[in-house]
């Protein structure tokens, strides 16, 4: 219950100048002086403790002097009484006594301010701790309640530590997913603002908490330090291990599902089936990234192809050609061994044949002459960007005509 100004005058009158009557004007003057000194101290300690309370403003005669219902600005009759005694001793040059009284009065003020601040913070943290721990507010509340030091920190400072921990967690996450073993995209940091802001699934509260505790321990007051450097490092190392665990689990789950899907649905002759199944069959296959498995399959095939002629290294192709013109062969074709149109084998010329004295001459769509394949080297197929073998396929315009029709009855070709 607030102390009325008039009540204060009555209580304090006996200690003013060794005792005066309550109506004596010296009582009001001493009260004003005491309140001024105490309010200054109160505001200083409040600022130091980062109290959420508004700073007090001193004015002469209490809040509303002369009114029966006005109250003291700084409602602490004990410290006010001590400060009045202090002022009296100072005026009598009893400095040592005055200092003792002032110190005691200030200690009351400090006790009350710290107590109020802690109670307020406790209430704030307790309410936040009732919310989901994987939210900004939820974790800040829990850290506020669980760590001894945090009573000395306001909510905003705890939140600042949480944001720092959050950023450290993201940095470490990005460090892990940077190498080829991880197919996860990096995260970008933006500070959490609202109590309801949630942490990413990959970086839950237990991870952020580790980083925050390591920082809180580093910043803790040396007088009440309860952690060693080793413990600080442990907080951080454990948080980093948890990130590694989460990243590994998430990546392996995605890899498993993708490879299982390829194994179950892809054609067994395809590249997808091979790398998908090999990724599952290898004892520690899920530790290898998709790209590593794909590269190993390609290298394996190359290694084996260079080691001999096996089933599949020579194959037949049906080409979608019906008129003379240049054509890109399938990417895997190195060279044509034989070519046939229908059931008739036809010559396959190398790329210099057209230019040799005894060669066939340049073959174009205007001069197809007769069925043939002419090597035109290698080029990039614009339809898919792959380097492929290119051939000119020669279809005579008069295909189906007899030799005598084609060569004017002589039966001899001009070449």
């Amino acid at each position: 219950m607030a102390t009325l100004y008039s009540t204060a005058l009555s209580i304090l009158a006996p200690v003013v100048d060794n005792g005066v009557l309550p109506g004596d004007p010296r009582v009001a003057a001493r009260l004003d002086e005491a309140q001024r000194r105490l309010i200054n101290q109160y505001n200083a300690i409040s600022a130091r403790e980062e109290s959420l309370e508004t700073a007090l403003v001193w004015q002469a005669g209490g809040t509303d002097p002369g009114q029966s219902d006005s109250t003291l600005i700084l409602d602490d009759i004990d410290s006010t009484k001590l400060m009045i005694l202090c002022a009296f001793r100072e005026e009598n040059n009893q400095i040592e006594m005055a200092e003792g009284l002032e110190k005691k009065a200030f200690s009351y003020i400090e006790r009350d301010v710290v107590d109020n601040v802690n109670r307020t913070r406790y209430t704030i943290f307790a309410n936040l701790a009732l919310t989901d721990q994987n939210t900004f507010g939820g974790l800040a509340g829990r850290i506020g309640l669980e760590t001894f030091e945090s009573y000395k920190s306001p909510k905003t400072r705890i939140q600042s530590f949480v944001n720092q921990g959050y950023q450290q967690a993201i940095d470490h996450y990005n460090f892990i997913v940077r190498n080829e073993q991880a197919e996860l995209p990096p995260m970008s940091y933006s500070p959490l603002v609202y109590d309801s802001d949630a942490f990413p699934q990959m970086l839950p509260a237990e991870i952020i908490r580790g980083f925050v505790l390591s920082m809180l321990a580093q910043n803790t007051d040396s007088e009440v330090q309860y952690t060693s450097g080793k413990e600080i490092a442990n907080f951080k190392a454990e948080a980093q291990q948890l990130i590694q665990r989460n990243v590994t689990a998430a990546i392996q789950r995605v890899r498993y599902e993708k490879r299982k899907n390829l194994f179950q649905t892809a054609d067994p002759s395809t590249f997808g089936y091979h790398w998908g199944r090999i990724g599952l069959d290898l004892a520690d296959g899920l530790n290898y990234s998709d790209d590593q498995i794909k590269r190993a399959v390609n290298t394996a095939e190359e290694l084996l192809m260079n080691a001999g002629k096996w089933v599949g290294t020579i194959d037949t192709y049906l080409l979608p050609i019906v008129t003379s013109g240049e054509v890109f062969l399938p990417r895997a074709v190195e060279t044509i061994l034989f070519a046939q149109f229908g059931s008739n084998p036809q010559p396959v010329y190398d790329r210099f044949n057209e230019w040799m004295t005894e060669g066939s001459g340049i073959r174009t769509t205007d001069q197809p002459w007769r069925y043939a394949f002419v090597d035109r080297g290698e080029g990039i197929d614009p339809s898919d960007g792959f380097l492929k073998r290119k051939y000119f396929v020669s279809f005579p315009d008069d295909q189906g005509a007899s030799m005598s029709d084609r060569y004017g009855g002589s039966g001899f070709a001009p070449y």
Binding site: S269, F271, H274, L282, A300, L304, W310, L318, L319, G342
Partner: protein
């Protein structure tokens, strides 16, 4: 009001056989909607009859179901050009690409060999598997004719 439907059709190549016609293959989503199909040859002649001679044909598929609308186009080629080709190793990129070697165990053994610096797989085993496949194919391709010859000889 008719709903849009999807026709899935891609370019297709058929091996020419005299007196055989080739219909374009396609699918609709929803499935089995009624459609009309036309084939346009290089000369611009349009026909609803499936082609049977060598050439390129533009296939147009249109949904005729009154509740749906949609169309699709592709090239159908009837070709008689075949080649026997030697292949080279390529770096496969797309999952749907066909492997050149068709022996899963041989590839697996070699991948183990590669990923473990030779400790977890045996390259010689992989080669033996491929060699066995070659022998097996030779046996399959030739036993029939050998067997028939023997029968003929016995006769």
């Amino acid at each position: 009001m008719s709903t849009p439907a999807t026709i899935t059709i891609s370019n297709q190549v058929y091996s020419y056989t005299p007196n055989v016609s080739y219909q374009a293959s396609f699918s609709t989503t929803p499935a089995n909607l009624s459609t009309s199909v036309t084939y346009t040859d290089a000369g611009g002649n349009v026909s609803s009859t499936a082609p049977s001679t060598i050439g390129n044909y533009t296939v147009n598929v249109t949904i005729t179901d009154p509740n749906y609308t949609g169309s699709g186009t592709a090239i159908l080629t009837i070709s008689n050009v075949t080649i026997l080709a030697k292949k080279r190793p390529i770096a496969h990129v797309n999952d749907s690409e066909a492997m050149i070697l068709r022996h899963y165990q041989a590839i697996l053994e070699t991948v183990k060999y590669l990923l473990t610096d030779g400790k977890g797989g045996n390259l010689e085993t992989a080669k033996q598997l491929l060699a066995a496949q070659v022998n097996q194919n030779f046996f399959k391709q030739n036993m029939g004719s050998v067997h028939n010859k023997r029968v003929v000889n016995f006769r």
